[in-house]
Subunit: 544 residues, 2 copies
């Protein structure tokens, strides 16, 4: 690295999470924070109030001897106290560890152990999760978060404190210290389909820069209203709480909800004039259904819904646009990338003349890299492939908010290459600079030195009216290394033939790419969260 | 500073100016750069072309042995080569030194000496400035920038190279190295009314963060078109070239112009659909006049004109708004602050019900701090004053793009306090968080332990129909330390009396604040650039 003449600017002024909150409370003291409590009532505070509470929280953390170096686990929904912890824990130099309540119990125990968490803060509604961990982990104590008097809470946990009792009587002012910016502010563990969860430790610096990237990309300012719909125990809530506080927006916290009980979240979106929200298609889809049933379609023409985790279906994007004017923006990233890497919002001027259908198709792409992230697509020798929209390779990412290693793990060499993180995704970059994913690396079919996208082929097969579902896997082949095999489920029990499949693929795939076999199935194997399990398909094929 | 658990993110990935250009060329290769040449013709290139030229420039700098540690002075207007130098010089780890062509020759010599600049790049039209410096400075050589063949240029400079000759034949690819982010990328010298120019060395980090701040505050993206009207030899061009490149916008470079010859700049604003521009009121005012004379008023309703250096007159803000829909945004800062500290664009929601006149008045304030800058107003003991809109004190600023010292100068203690830069401005902060400047520290009248704003009083006096101009100074007083004295110039030779002045001040000032004396003058002393010279008024008062 080159080193030039020293500057005379405030280079030692660190990028800290605390700065975001101090800025919000100082410049936007009356911006509202609207939050839903466990008892389903709504309440309101503002940034001035939040800074007072976070100051009390910092004193409380001091009183528990939570200091730089301490890791604090959190089990909570999108509640106000969770937001306070997002700023309070890092403010004393400690690490806030996200505990994903959807993890298998053994994985949760592994995460607490591996991260050496010393305290766990738990919402009253998740006490049973905490209690199931209690005798398997080694923590100093538990802090229960509840709106009830602590005397009304009964729990088998030992060394229990109560959040509100800890805060009560603490001073509402705290002398926040600067924190070295490469110190971790947050930690989360990713859950792959194989292996143990992997730790990702987000620094104050990386989250601060991610916050600026998010605010710029979505043009968020103090006239906006941000609602974090994505659970706050997932991937730092995609940086939305930090983005909201940094920009001084009104915030709406929906508390506890599920995809089956999300009507009130959609209602709050409309009632509170939310202009920015995030979520997976699995959450946005039922919200759209709820809005469809309102007597009058709401005007959400200023609303940006950032959809991540999987590609948003066209029906979701068009549905929101037609009904409400809201813009569903495809965002791409992962826990290892803080997560925002690229986004797909306003169409580039040079593409303004595309036919409508192509514009919609383009909107499904992963989009343009955000300033600060570098994306490249590489071939088998890690050579960078051209931006031609055709050259398919693994997507590698680097930048100030992209992971550079997994702490305390020995498979780092497989997942990192010369400072770049290997996403495990396969994609292309178009001449206009758009990233488009075509597959997962483990699912792409490597046949005769070429790659065939299993996802592209599945989508094409599903265009056949007789097909309900399709899955394409690569199976070992002596001559070609791998060959594609398609599994299809017929719509309403229809019989799907190899000819049907070949017919619908003819225009879009070369002859050598067509699947050797078409297997008609009753259903496709899926994980507990509904993800297609190709691993099982491959195993079944092998054993037959 | 606290130090916590290490993170696992790319914290060592440095914030570099080169990243901005690589991002623009990679993601927005066809975004246009429209530029006016010295011969007044317009030409076009794009970011892909710019990266090729900057790569050639980097090779050329290598060939001149310009390396990390070298300082390169530039004498140029808002030309394309100037923009190339903005990225090319920092890209090899060297410092680009802005040479303000408006400086007195002795000051220019001082700046070149003090900065130890080793090379000076000079536009053909400024050769006479370079030649007048040549025998007084000690540089290794000069590089002349011209569109003509070098054989047509005659100059008395020795060790002369020609920019285009240096670039010709160089490879269009360059392996840009990462640069330690606290290395200086740019240097500029501030010109106060007293003392020698003071150096400000902007780091890659500080300018990168300023760029993100600018992009967020003005919501700039790749659909925008940015025109840097402020001379590119002033205060890093307010960071607008970096902001434009970072966001991948189209750029319009107006080349050489002056306030007297700015019609074509206004024309380009309209013709090229410029949506973001910067400038002093002295430049925007004649542009507005030009636009008024067009047969049809242009629609600039998506255009943000950032006005800095002095408070924009109400007539300018309203004029642009009424005629074109353009929003004149007051921005506050100084060379020491990169420069953007605060801005005044969209009104806070809580102020939406203010009467129209009060909204316009508020728009003249310096506005809300940008995320990343901290502003406080302090009293005589450096104690922070409340945000009550009344407590007047000196404005102190700190943050990652605010100066922390003046290199190689010994009056740092007077201008810095515990990491904060003393702006020398006097102001208040309103309960809504708006900064409003009321005076310069050296002009405020300290009377009986209280401060009286000379500017507020001048503005009030000038509301009297008989008054053309007014200046208020503090004169020494045994009992009260200082007392105000007003100097007034009558409109069309009108006689202005003390009673006239008292009458117009009665509502707005307390009795003890009224000026002890009112002196009627024929004219007020001004500097060569038209600035009121209160120093001379004070001296005249003392000598009488």
């Amino acid at each position: 690295m080159l080193k030039g003449v020293p500057s005379s600017m405030g280079d030692e002024y660190p990028l800290n999470m605390t700065t975001l909150l101090r800025h919000a409370a100082g410049t936007f003291p009356t911006s509202e924070i609207v939050h839903r409590r466990l008892d389903e009532s709504w309440a309101r505070t503002d940034y001035a109030g939040m800074l007072r509470r976070v100051s009390q929280l910092a004193h409380a953390l001091d009183s528990l001897d939570i200091t730089p170096g301490t890791t604090v686990g959190v089990l909570d929904w999108n509640h106000l106290r969770h937001l306070e912890l997002y700023f309070g824990v890092p403010s004393v130099g400690a690490v806030m560890l996200q505990l994903n309540i959807r993890l298998a119990p053994t994985d949760l125990v592994y995460v607490v152990d591996h991260s050496e968490a010393q305290w766990i803060f738990v919402d009253e509604s998740l006490l049973s999760v905490a209690e199931s961990l209690a005798d398997k982990v080694n923590v100093r104590g538990w802090v229960v978060m509840t709106d009830k008097p602590s005397s009304e809470i009964s729990t088998s946990l030992e060394n229990v404190y109560f959040y509100e009792d800890l805060l009560a009587g603490q001073s509402e002012e705290y002398d926040f210290q600067f924190i070295e910016e490469t110190s971790a502010a947050y930690a989360g563990y990713t859950t792959g389909t194989t292996g143990r969860p992997k730790g990702v430790y987000y620094s104050h610096r990386s989250m601060y820069l991610h916050t600026l990237g998010l605010i710029s990309a979505l043009k968020i300012d103090y006239l906006d209203c941000v609602m974090p719909v994505t659970p706050m125990f997932h991937a730092v809530s995609w940086g939305f709480p930090q983005g909201a506080v940094g920009a001084g927006t009104k915030i709406v916290l929906p508390g506890r909800f599920s995809a089956d009980n999300i009507g009130f979240v959609a209602e709050a979106l409309v009632e509170e004039n939310v202009t920015v929200a995030n979520g997976a298609p699995a959450l946005f889809a039922p919200m759209l259904e709820y809005l469809r049933q309102l007597p009058e379609a709401p005007d959400l023409s200023n609303t940006r819904l950032v959809s991540g985790s999987t590609e948003p279906p066209l029906s979701l994007m068009k549905g929101f646009s037609d009904l409400t004017g809201a813009d569903v923006i495809h965002g791409y990233g992962a826990s290892e990338t803080s997560p925002l890497v690229s986004y797909n919002w306003r169409l580039k001027a040079e593409l303004a003349d595309l036919p409508e259908a192509e514009k919609w198709d383009l909107k499904r792409y992963q989009g343009l890299p955000i300033l600060g992230t570098e994306i490249k697509v590489v071939g088998p020798e890690n050579e960078e492939l051209p931006h031609d929209g055709k050259s398919m390779g693994e997507v590698l990412i680097r930048g100030p908010w992209i992971a550079r290693s997994y702490p305390k793990l020995d498979d780092n060499d497989e997942r990192f290459h010369e400072g770049w993180w290997r996403s495990g995704d396969v994609g292309v970059i178009t001449p206009e600079g758009y990233l488009k994913l075509t597959d997962r690396l483990k699912d792409v079919i490597k046949s005769g030195g070429e790659w065939i996208s299993s996802i592209d082929m599945e989508n094409a097969i599903m265009d056949h009216p007789k097909v309900l579902e399709a899955a394409v896997i690569g199976v070992p082949d002596e001559k070609y290394q791998e060959r594609p095999v398609a599994f299809v489920v017929g719509r309403d029990g229809a019989e799907v033939t190899k000819e049907d499949v070949y017919e619908v693929l003819a225009d879009r795939f070369a002859k050598w790419q067509l699947p050797d076999e078409v297997v008609v199935s009753q259903e496709l194997p899926r994980t507990s969260v509904g993800k297609l399990e190709k691993k099982r398909l491959r195993a079944e094929w092998q054993s037959n």
